[in-house]
């Protein structure tokens, strides 16, 4: 288990996600992601506004079957603690105090699920709700360090994963990416020609703080992991020209 940036190129991880063009590819991506992150499991689950469900991930099939058979959805503290919320959660923060919850965790671990988890709830369009989870076996200290250090990347990864899953939903029209506003295009253009942030802020007559927020919004819309990646994608798509 290592920090994302040191384990594998985050851009390579994302490229793997971008090239997915079927739900089966998301399954394969989840498996590769475990290797890249050096963790035991990646699990993704969504519920649409109309109640349809979709999931993929690396939990053993025997555990998935057991979960359904025992109706664990009703006792799972991760579901109870994350459903319809929007803040990321280290599983250790959840309430495992009830006997049912403790028995559930023991059963999960007996089926090959790790004792540590970090879950990121996501609210998508039209009432869609998704939960992206990474899971591992290790001590509390290592897990807290890993998830704290990697939190930003994990949050972004979770949202990209959800966007991709939405795009691949059968019968769904591809959603047009939100276009960048002229200010975002200007900011990326200046960065692409080598201005530093202070110079870009100066050129646009905005503060560096405002610039950071504009770049962050552009990064999100471009599906990039960081500013350099955002500039590269904008160039590649012809959104900016230098």
């Amino acid at each position: 288990m290592g920090y994302i940036s040191s384990v594998a190129s985050i851009e390579r991880i994302l490229n793997g996600l971008e090239s997915a063009d079927a739900h089966d590819d998301l399954q394969a991506f989840s498996e590769r992601l475990c290797t890249d992150l050096g963790i035991s499991h990646v699990v993704y689950h969504w519920v649409s506004g109309s109640g349809d469900q979709y999931g993929c991930g690396t939990y053993p099939a025997s555990w998935v079957a057991r979960y359904v058979e025992k109706g664990y959805l009703r006792v799972d503290p991760v579901v109870q603690g994350c459903y319809q919320r929007f803040h990321p959660v280290n599983w250790k923060q959840l309430d495992w105090s009830s006997r049912a919850a403790r028995a559930f965790l023991a059963d999960a671990v007996a089926h090959g699920v790790g004792n540590q988890g970090f879950s990121i709830p996501i609210r998508g369009p039209n009432g869609q709700f998704a939960l992206f989870t990474i899971n591992h076996s290790c001590d509390d200290n290592h897990w807290e360090m890993f998830t704290t250090e990697s939190r930003r990347d994990l949050i972004l990864l979770a949202h990209f994963f959800n966007d991709k899953a939405l795009q691949l939903q059968p019968g769904r029209k591809p959603r047009d990416a939100t276009p960048l506003s002229p200010r975002e295009v200007d900011a990326l253009t200046f960065l692409a020609v080598g201005y530093n942030r202070a110079q870009v802020a100066d050129a646009l007559s905005i503060s560096e703080h405002t610039l950071r927020v504009y770049i962050e919004s552009a990064r999100h819309k471009l599906g990039a992991m960081n500013t350099t990646h955002a500039v590269a994608k904008a160039l590649q798509r012809g959104i900016i020209v230098v």
């Binding site: 250790k92 200290n141 897990w143 807290e144 360090m145 949202h159 200010r183 927020v213 999100h220």
Partner: protein
């Protein structure tokens, strides 16, 4: 103390909930004269309250509403994008790392520490959930209050004047600002942390030195 309550859980504190919506009516409609619809009971509730936001509420020792604010992820619908795009240079501010903060409200006669306590709580949210910026909508009086408590936003744009003045601004998290606000609130950082953990649970402390 500070309470962190999702919209879906407000029903567990009906008196506090109603007091919050009543105080919002008093501030935004009563004192500022904004043209906002009220419910038959005189509560100010808008379409964004239906989106299950996270409310940060100052609960007074007697269980009343001292002040509050409303947080939503900018990856969903937000007031800033729906209504104030002209104040953000036309930039649709959206990212999982940016949350929106609206309806910052203080009850009439709230003691001076309440606003600072709410901002301190905002800092806990940023630190605890990996939020890098808040984008907020606030009225003119709040600009002075934020300055006084040492948490001035970066104002992106302002429209209207007098009581109708509305601004959009940004906050980020700095340790220095958090310390200033804590001093201004008269709340020990450990106390603020404990309130946050009461709502969201305690993550194990990672001991880097021992690793």
């Amino acid at each position: 103390m500070i309470r962190y309550i999702y919209g879906q859980d407000l029903h567990t504190r009906p008196a506090l909930r109603d007091a919050m919506f009543r105080d919002r009516a008093a501030q935004f409609v009563g004192r500022l004269g904004w043209d906002l619809p009220l419910t038959a009971e005189g509560l100010e509730i808008d379409q964004y309250d239906a989106l299950n936001p996270l409310y940060v509420i100052w609960e007074t020792p007697k269980g009343g509403h001292g002040g509050s604010m409303r947080l939503l992820p900018t990856t969903g619908r937000t007031m800033v994008i729906d209504h104030f795009l002209h104040l953000t240079d036309g930039v649709r501010i959206e990212s999982p790392l940016i949350w929106e903060c609206t309806r910052f409200c203080l009850s009439e006669g709230a003691h001076p520490g309440v606003a600072a306590g709410l901002m301190l709580a905002g800092g806990e949210v940023m630190r605890g959930f990996g939020v890098e910026h808040f984008v907020g909508v606030f009225d003119a009086r709040m600009v002075r209050i934020y300055r006084r408590i040492g948490a001035s936003p970066e104002v992106l744009g302002t429209s209207g004047s007098g009581r109708a003045q509305v601004s959009v601004g940004l906050w980020d998290f700095t340790v220095e600002a958090q310390a200033r606000v804590a001093a201004s609130a008269g709340i020990a950082p450990e106390t603020s942390r404990r309130w946050f953990e009461t709502a969201f649970g305690t993550a194990p402390q990672s001991c880097v030195a021992a690793a």
